[in-house]
Every structure is written in C-alpha cells, then in structure tokens.
C-alpha cells in the first residue's frame, strides 16, 4: 500500500496536513514523516514503478534504480535530521516549506522523464525560497529574490532544453543525455546552475548565509546534491566536467580561506566539495561515479552537521562572524565537540566519513591519468583541512575569548547534531554500510596503509603550514567585509550600473531633453492610456462603434474575395 505513493509525496502531502494539526501532535507528525518515507524507500521494488499518459506522452514519475536510491536514502536522513533540528521552532511555514522542499527533491530523484523532473525541479526552487524569506530581514528578502530569479532561470532552461531535446529525438526519457545538441546543452546548463558551476555559483554563497538558522541546514542538503545526481544521470563521462569541477574545488577554497562569515565560509566549502563530485562525474568510470555518490552521501551529512553547529552558534549568539566569535567552548561544549566531528569528517581524517568517500574520487582521477586535476584536488583537500577542518572550530570555540557567554544549544539541536555526528563516525568506521548502497560494485579498500599514511601526512602538513603562517603573521586576516565574488555582478554592479545609467540619462535629459527616455515613458503612457478603464481599449465602446466595426469586418471578408 505505502509503496504505491510516489516517493517524496509522503513528505509533500504530509506537510500539507501539518498546518491543521496542533501542539504535540504536530511535532510528532513532523518527525514521523521522514521515518515513514524512509520505510517506504526500503520497500520500493526496482524498475519502472509507475507510468501514465499525459496528453499522449508516456511519463514515468517513478523509476527506481540504485543511483536514485543511494541519494534518496541520504535525503531522507537529512530530512529527518533537519526536521529534528528545527523542532524548537514555532513557525509552521518553515516546517511545511522544508518538508515540501525535501519531498520534491526526493521526488526528482525518481523522475524517469524530463517533464516530471522539471515539475519537481521547480517545486524545490519555490519551496526552498521560504527557508530564506522566513528569516524576515531585508537582506534575506533581497537575497531570496535573487535566489528565486536564478533558480527559476534554471527551471526555464531545463524546460526549454527538454522541448528541444524532445523535438530532436522524440523521447522524454531522463537517461544518459551527453552534450550532443542545443537541447541537451541547455539541460546541462540548467543542472550546472543548481550545481553551482563556476560563474553560475553566485546564488549559493549569496543566499545560504542569509537563510534562517534551520533553513541553511535544509538548503545545504538538497538543491546542489539533486543537481549532482542529475549530472551523474545525464552527463556521466562528459569530459568538460573534469576541468569545471577542478576549478570549482580550487577557487572556492581560496574564498573559504579568507571569508569572515562562517556560514558563508561553509557555503564556499560546499562549492569546493561539489567540485570533487563534478570531477568524479566527468571522469565517469565506475569507481569515479561510486565515489561521487559516496561523497555526496557523506557530504550531506557532515556539511549538514557543520551548518547545524554554526546555526546553533548563530541561534545563541546572534552572529557567525569569526571576527566576533571565539572561546565558546566553555559555553557550548556539546556543540563544540560535535562540530569537531564534522570538521574531522570534512578534513577526511581516517575513521570519519570524508575519508572513505573523497579518496575514491582522487584515486579514480589518478587512475584515469588526470594528473593535473589530481593535484588541484589534493590542494583543495589541504585547503578543506584548513578552512573547514581547523578554522571553523578554532575561530568559534577555541580562539581568543571575546567574552560571549551563552547557553548550550537547545536539546533538539544537540540531538540532531549528535545523530549526524554518529552517522559520520559510523560511515568512517564501517564504510561497507555505504559501499553496499552504491550504484556499481565496489572493489576499493579505504583502509590500506598508503591511503591512511597519505591522508595523515596531508593533514599534518596542512596543520603545520597553518600554524607557521599564523605565527609568521602571513595568514590573511578575515575582515568583516564581503569578499568580491560573481554575485557582486548582479548584487552590486548591475544595480550600480542601472543607477549610473540613470544618472547619465538624467544628465542627458537636461542636456538634450532626453528624447529616448521620454519616448519610453510615452510608450508606457500610450499603452496605459489605451488600456486603462478610461482608455479606448479598456472601456466598452458605444453600440454604434461596434456596429461600425461589424460593418468594416464584413467588408474586409468580402474584399478577400477579390484578393
């Protein structure tokens, strides 16, 4: 019975009931939904579960295979942990939008055709918006609008690409596409926006830090990993993804090293992690794709954990600027400890989850002779040790005490962080738990002497370099300013340009009476004048006018006889 509902629908439909429940029942229902969904997932048979005709075209909203399943499992885990993390809220809007967001992302994983994918794709965009707007600040509102525009553009590209692809091939199936036509290129770009390709990534570091405490946790899990899944499904082995991924991994690292806002740092670090996965998809070998899926799985958990920890800090202290934080260990010992687990995971310390997944991608890149890429990724790994492994924990909990005293994070937050930390550790200790879920058979052994030794050396040297740089005073100080990135183009440059252009136009106006501007204005006035209720087209005519038109039209039809 339960497997007849499309996966993800449980969350979406369940979320819609949520506003009508009250009190404790509401919270029980909230936590129960992801659990129900997870149970359903384990019951799903593989293959095409459902298909129906939608004006003549067969759609398959539910197609189950191992690639979908591995992402779906971690999405449900993330949904569960995020919901627990958000349990202290008194904000039904955030709960509902979070669940709809997670549900539609899960639905998208099982979309067997491009139209279904598009529908879910757009729902994730709309639902996730409220995780930003719910912060209810001016900055969040504006960041949310920019986020919306870009997310919807991605959807529009996807739809346009789908139509062209359909015109080319007559197929709506969502399988391996490849960069073969204009249509698939548009689809590629649509995925690329959500996967935060370089120059298309501005929305991520712009919007995530503006989201609510709990919103950032939701956001970090789904949108980008959904894009990674879509790329892996549609464009595995596409050569260009290797350099794209390498650039992502590298440039985001630099930003992360100098960023002051720790949640923005995490956003950059997220882009860097995505770079690893994109490289894996580009390499396209079985091990690389396994590595991508595994790394996505692990990164949802540890990145979520770090966002939760920073969210808890923001919740208690009201800031995540590293220049204002420090010495919180005494006030929030549990959060500090759990944050350390997340840091250890992202730094790929052996026995933690990052170690067992990231090295698969690195090994695959090396085996396929992408030596330059391998080097870049190695450097980005070292960077990750620095910015997410050390800086996050150090700046917040152990650095110079700024005198902030606050309470420990609420119980539900600690519980959610604990769950995530436990999973990070469990995967690191027992990698086969994850490996058995992967799309291809795994013959990779993470705990060999050379792997462990390499990784420990990398970490040791990174730490040594960090200590040295800080001692010598060479490490760039994080200043409380926004670092220049691509979103500046439309966040500041574009409005700036518009203002500049406006000033020039005004000058032009005083100089030569501004013919162009007046032309535009009069065009708008013209339209308004004719269509407003007082205008000729917006106001009913007299009977005579209609009769005249009838006569004119009659004459026109008659004249056509002689044309």
């Amino acid at each position: 019975m339960i497997e007849a509902i499309p996966p993800g629908m449980i969350l979406i439909l369940g979320a819609l009931i949520l506003p009508f429940l009250g009190g404790a029942l509401q919270r029980v229902w909230l936590v129960l939904l992801p659990v129900l969904g997870f149970v359903q997932l384990t019951l799903l048979p593989e293959g095409l579960a459902q298909s129906f005709e939608f004006f003549g075209y067969g759609l398959n909203p539910v197609r189950v295979d191992s690639l979908s399943l591995v992402f779906a499992y971690v999405f449900y885990l993330a949904a569960f942990l995020s919901v627990v993390y958000a349990l202290h809220l008194r904000d039904t809007v955030q709960w509902v939008s979070g669940l709809v967001y997670a549900g539609s992302a899960i639905g998208a994983l099982f979309a067997g055709d491009l139209i279904s994918l598009f529908v879910y794709w757009e729902i994730t965009a709309l639902a996730s918006l409220f995780q930003i707007w719910a912060r209810r600040t001016e900055a969040a509102y504006r960041a949310g609008l920019r986020y919306l525009v870009i997310q919807v553009s991605s959807g529009v590209l996807l739809l346009a690409g789908t139509i062209l692809h359909f015109a080319d091939t007559g197929s709506l199936e969502f399988g391996a596409l490849g960069l073969v036509s204009v249509g698939t290129t548009l689809i590629f770009l649509a995925f690329g926006i959500k996967a935060a390709f370089p120059l298309l990534h501005g929305w991520l570091e712009d919007a995530y830090p503006e989201a609510t405490v709990t919103g950032a946790v939701f956001l970090s899990a789904f949108t980008t990993k959904l894009a990674i899944y879509a790329l892996a499904r549609g464009f595995a082995g596409t050569e260009i993804l290797v350099p794209i991924g390498a650039v992502m991994a590298a440039f985001a690292t630099f930003y992360a090293l100098i960023e002051n806002d720790l949640r923005r740092l995490l956003a950059y670090s997220l882009i860097s992690q995505l770079g690893f996965m994109v490289v894996g998809i580009g390499v396209g070998s079985e091990m690389a794709l396994n590595g991508t899926a595994a790394h996505a799985f692990a990164s949802v958990l540890y990145k979520g954990l770090l966002f939760m920890a920073m969210g808890a800090v923001l919740y208690r202290t009201g800031t995540t600027r590293s220049s204002e934080l420090g010495g919180l260990y005494g006030s929030m010992p549990w959060t500090a400890l759990l944050c350390l687990v997340g840091s250890a995971s992202i730094a790929a310390l052996p026995l933690f989850s990052g170690f067992i997944s990231k090295s698969m991608i690195l090994t695959a890149a090396a085996e396929n002779h992408y030596s330059l890429t391998y080097t870049v990724l190695l450097a980005a790994s070292a960077g990750a040790v620095l910015h997410s492994g050390i800086r996050i924990s150090y700046d917040t909990f152990f650095g110079p005490d700024r005198g902030i005293r606050c309470d420990e994070a609420p119980r539900n937050m600690r519980f959610a962080m604990g769950g995530a930390a436990l999973l990070c550790f469990a995967l690191g200790v027992a990698p086969n738990l994850l490996y058995e879920l992967l799309p291809y058979p795994v013959n990779y052994q993470p705990y060999t002497f050379s792997h462990v030794a390499d990784q420990l050396q990398l970490i040791a040297f990174s730490v040594a370099a960090a200590v040295l740089l800080v001692r010598l005073g060479l490490y760039p100080k994080a200043r409380s300013a926004r670092n220049l990135d691509i979103d500046w183009l439309y966040r500041s440059l574009l409005p700036g340009l518009v203002q500049f252009a406006g000033r020039q136009l005004a000058r032009l106006k005083s100089a030569i009476e501004s013919r162009a501007l007046m032309g535009l204005q009069s065009a708008v006035r013209y339209v308004q004048g004719h269509h407003a209720p007082t205008g000729v087209l917006g106001d009913p005519w007299s009977i005579g006018a209609t009769a005249l038109w009838a006569a004119l039209l009659l004459v026109a039809y008659l004249l056509m006889a002689y044309l």
């Binding site: 007299s542 039809y557 008659l558 056509m560």
Partner: protein, 491 residues
C-alpha cells in the same frame, strides 16, 4: 426512452421554464431547477458515451425525416460541448442566489430560474441541432434570456449593459439570419449535412461568399471576438456574478462551436482556408485579442471587469487555435473551450463568494481577504494559475497544444506570442493576489469565509481545473478526436 434522449436534452429545460413560473416558491423552484439541470447533465453524459461507443446519433424531431424535418444530430464535437454546457449549468444552478446581487426580491427568484432554464435550453439546442435555421431560433432563445439575466444585476448600469448587449447581439443575430437566408437561396436546404453536400458546386458564387461573410461576422459578435467584443465587459461587470459565471463559461463557447461547425462542416476546410484564406484575417485579430485583452485586464480596477477582459484574451486563444487550421491547433482551441469554461466559470463563482462578504467588486475592496476568506481566495489563486497556464492546470494543456500547433505551421512568432501573453496574465492575476494577501492591514481581520453551500460549487469547478490539468484523457482526448473528425471530414 433512450432513443428520445436528444429531444429531451432541449425539451426538458424548455418545458421546465414555465413550470418554474407556476411553482413560484423560491425554495421549491430551486430544487426543481437543480433537478432539471442535473437531468440535462445526465442526458448529455449518456449522449457522449453513446457517441464515443457507437458513433453519430441522428434523431428526426417529430418523426419528420431530414432534410424536410428538423434533424438533431449528435457527433463527438457537439456531444463534447453539450457536456461542458450541462456541467457548468449544473454547478452554477446549485450555487445559492444572493439577494444583494440581484434587483428582484426573494419572492420573485423564480424568474431567475425560469430565465436560466430558458437560456440553458437555447444553448443546448444550438449545440445539438443539425439544422441551420434551428440554430438561429435557439440562438435567439438563449440570447433573449441572457439579456434579461444580465439586466437582473443590482447595479443600475446592468440595465444599460443588458440593453447594449441586446442591440449588439441582435445585430449579430441578424447577420446570421441574413447568411442563412442567402445559403438557403442557393441550395434550397437548411440541414447541415445536406448543405455540406449541396454547397460545393456553388461555392464560387458571390452569394455564397456574402453568406460566408455575414455568418462569420455574426458569430464573431456572439463569440465576442476582437474587435466585436465590446458588449462583453459591461455585461459581465454589471450582471450578477452567477450569471457572468454561467454565460462566460457557456454562451461564448457555444458561439465558438457554431463558428467551428460553420467553417469545417458547412463551408469545408478547402473553401475556408484555401480559397478565402480566413487565417490571414482571423490570426492577427486573435493575436491582438490576446495582447489587448490581457493589457486591458491589467489596468482594470474592478475584478469582474478584469475577468471579462481576460475572457476576451482567452477567446483570442480559442480563435487562434481555429485559425492555425491543423490538428494540434484545432485541438488546442477545442480543449481551451472546455478548460476556459471551467476556469472562468469557477473564477466568477469566486467573485460571487467574495461579494457575499464585501460590498463592492472593486479590487481595492478585496484588501486582506486572503486571511478573512482563505478558502475563497485559495480558489482564486488556483483558478488564476490556470489562466496563466502553469503546468498541472488546464491552462497549460491548452497552451501546450496551441504552441505545438503554431510550431507545426512554422509560426514561431505566434508560439512566442502565446507564451508572452501568458506573462501578461501573470501580471493581472498577481495584482489581485497582491491585494488579497500582501497588503498591510492594521488589524488582523476575523476569519469569515463564504458558506459551504457557495464554496462547494466553486471548488467543484476550480478542483476540476486541476483534475483535468493532470488527467487529460476526457478533455484533450475527446477534443483531439473531434478535431481529427472535423479536419478529416472537411479536407
């Protein structure tokens, strides 16, 4: 019994109308009218089922065989339109009448029901009959009762609106009558099937050409096709909302059906689209209707008039589908006939719900209603999404076919215009939503929604816009069959 269903389809409401006047008691009349209308729906559904299963039905009225007698002929096209008309009528008639929207006191509500049933009989008759003159007769029955229904509006301007509708409608009716006369003169027959065989030899004559022009212009007035649309805004604005709901969903749709029937069955595809090149005139006018109607809707301050202008744009979509003259385009036009009927009928019922709580239909007065009447306003949002054509609503289905049809003809500009005018729809729908949900209200209004008896019919129609947006088997499937039948029978 079942072989007389075609006759019963029109006879039942026609005979029931005077009975309403005899019964007089409002509650009694209402129950009676609802039962009659629902029976009409049952008849229409069984006719559609019959046609889908066993093909066309021909029924000789009074036993007089065509072409001498009047023939009722049900094929897949008019069975489909019959179902739409009967469905909308069944929902609207169940909607409780609000005294504050009508100029007659409660004791005389029976007049409304009598007029409503007459109008319904006329519309069903136009659709079902296979006789050209009979179409004119039923057209006058439905139009005359429609003028009176409009005039029932409480606003005094309803009278002038009804009057100018009457004059313009009569011009249209006269044009149609002249056209019928000319055709009759040339062929000596009024039966549509008979005509389609006797007309081809004389198609080149100027008389037939005259007849064609008169018939097309006449139906265009009834259809409110641009630029002959100007009776519509005032009629829908000042008439009662339930009447606007009923007429917007049925009267213009039936006129569209008549146009399709004339063009494809009577005159034939070859004459209309190859000799006359109707598309050269109709296609640009459709595009202008889409843009001008939407733009005018954007600037309106009265919600009923906004919906009326939106109707003009939507009628533009339907005539566009017709003038594309291919399978996808015609399917789009025919499916939009059904879909727009559901959407606009539903939206006017939303207005009727809202007017049960606020005084004026000005958009300003809807301020903050999103909190006060959540269910009503949610219905508006869903219907509005349908007007825009969001995937998952019926509006998307129609536009999908129209775009396919335009692309099939290589008319990329037309496809672009269909999408661009959807953006205009976003603007006028959003204007209302913004006032309803996002206006700052000092005090939170108390929740005070319309009664269930109003919400239920409204949500039946609004819910249908979602249902048929997902399950297109009945609408698009039948429309496509009908389009294939028309094009196959004509070319």
């Amino acid at each position: 019994m079942t072989e007389h269903l075609p006759a019963l389809q029109t006879a039942l409401p026609l005979l029931a109308a005077p009975v309403c006047v005899l019964l007089r008691r409002a509650a009694l009349v209402r129950v009676f009218a609802v039962l009659v209308t629902w029976s009409c729906l049952a008849i229409a559904l069984s006719l559609l089922q019959e046609v889908l299963g066993h093909g066309e039905i021909s029924y000789a009225l009074g036993g007089w065989v065509a072409p001498l007698g009047i023939e009722y002929r049900v094929d897949i096209l008019n069975a489909y339109v019959l179902v739409l008309v009967a469905t909308i009528a069944s929902v609207v008639i169940a909607f409780p009448l609000a005294g504050r929207e009508l100029r007659i006191p409660k004791e005389r509500f029976f007049l409304f029901y009598a007029l409503f049933l007459l109008c319904l009989a006329g519309l069903l008759g136009i659709t079902i009959t296979g006789d050209l003159f009979n179409i004119f007769v039923f057209l006058e029955i439905s139009s005359l009762s429609a003028y009176a229904l409009i005039g029932l509006g409480r606003d005094r301007r309803a009278l002038t609106a009804g009057f100018s509708y009457l004059v313009m409608g009569t011009i249209g009716g006269t044009f149609i009558l002249i056209g019928i006369g000319l055709v009759y003169q040339m062929t000596g027959t009024l039966n549509i099937v008979d005509l389609s065989q006797r007309l081809p030899p004389v198609l080149g004559t100027r008389t037939v050409w005259m007849a064609f022009a008169f018939l097309v212009v006449g139906t265009s007035i009834k259809l409110a096709a641009f630029p002959l649309h100007q009776w519509l805004p005032n009629a829908y604005t000042y008439g009662p909302s339930v009447v606007a709901s009923f007429l917007s969903a049925t009267a213009t749709k039936v006129a569209y059906y008549v146009l399709v029937r004339l063009l494809f069955t009577v005159f034939g595809f070859a004459f209309v689209f190859e000799r006359v090149q109707l598309s050269a005139l109709l296609l640009p006018l459709s595009l202008i209707a889409m843009v001008v109607g939407s733009l005018a809707a954007i600037y309106q301050t009265n919600i009923k008039r906004l919906l009326a202008y939106s109707s003009i744009a939507q009628i533009g979509y339907m005539t566009l589908g017709l003038s594309l003259a291919n399978l996808d385009g015609l399917t789009g036009g025919l499916v939009h006939l059904f879909n727009h009927g559901l959407i606009k009928g539903g939206l006017f019922l939303v207005v009727a719900c809202a007017l049960s709580r606020v005084e004026s239909p000005r958009i300003e007065s809807l301020r903050g209603l999103g909190k006060r009447m959540p269910w009503t306003m949610a219905a508006f949002v869903v219907g509005g999404l349908g007007l825009i054509g969001i995937p998952g609503t019926v509006g998307f289905v129609s536009k999908w076919y129209l775009v396919l049809g335009a692309l099939d003809q290589g008319l990329y500009f037309v496809a672009f215009m269909v999408l661009a005018s959807s953006l205009l729809a976003v603007v006028y729908v959003w204007r209302v939503i913004e006032v309803m949900y996002f206006s700052d209200e000092e005090r939170a209004p108390e929740r005070d929604d319309a009664p269930l008896s109003m919400l239920l019919p409204t949500w039946v129609l609004i819910g249908a816009t979602i249902y048929f947006g997902l399950d297109t088997e009945l609408t698009a499937g039948v429309a496509e069959q009908a389009a294939a039948y028309l094009l196959g029978g004509a070319s």
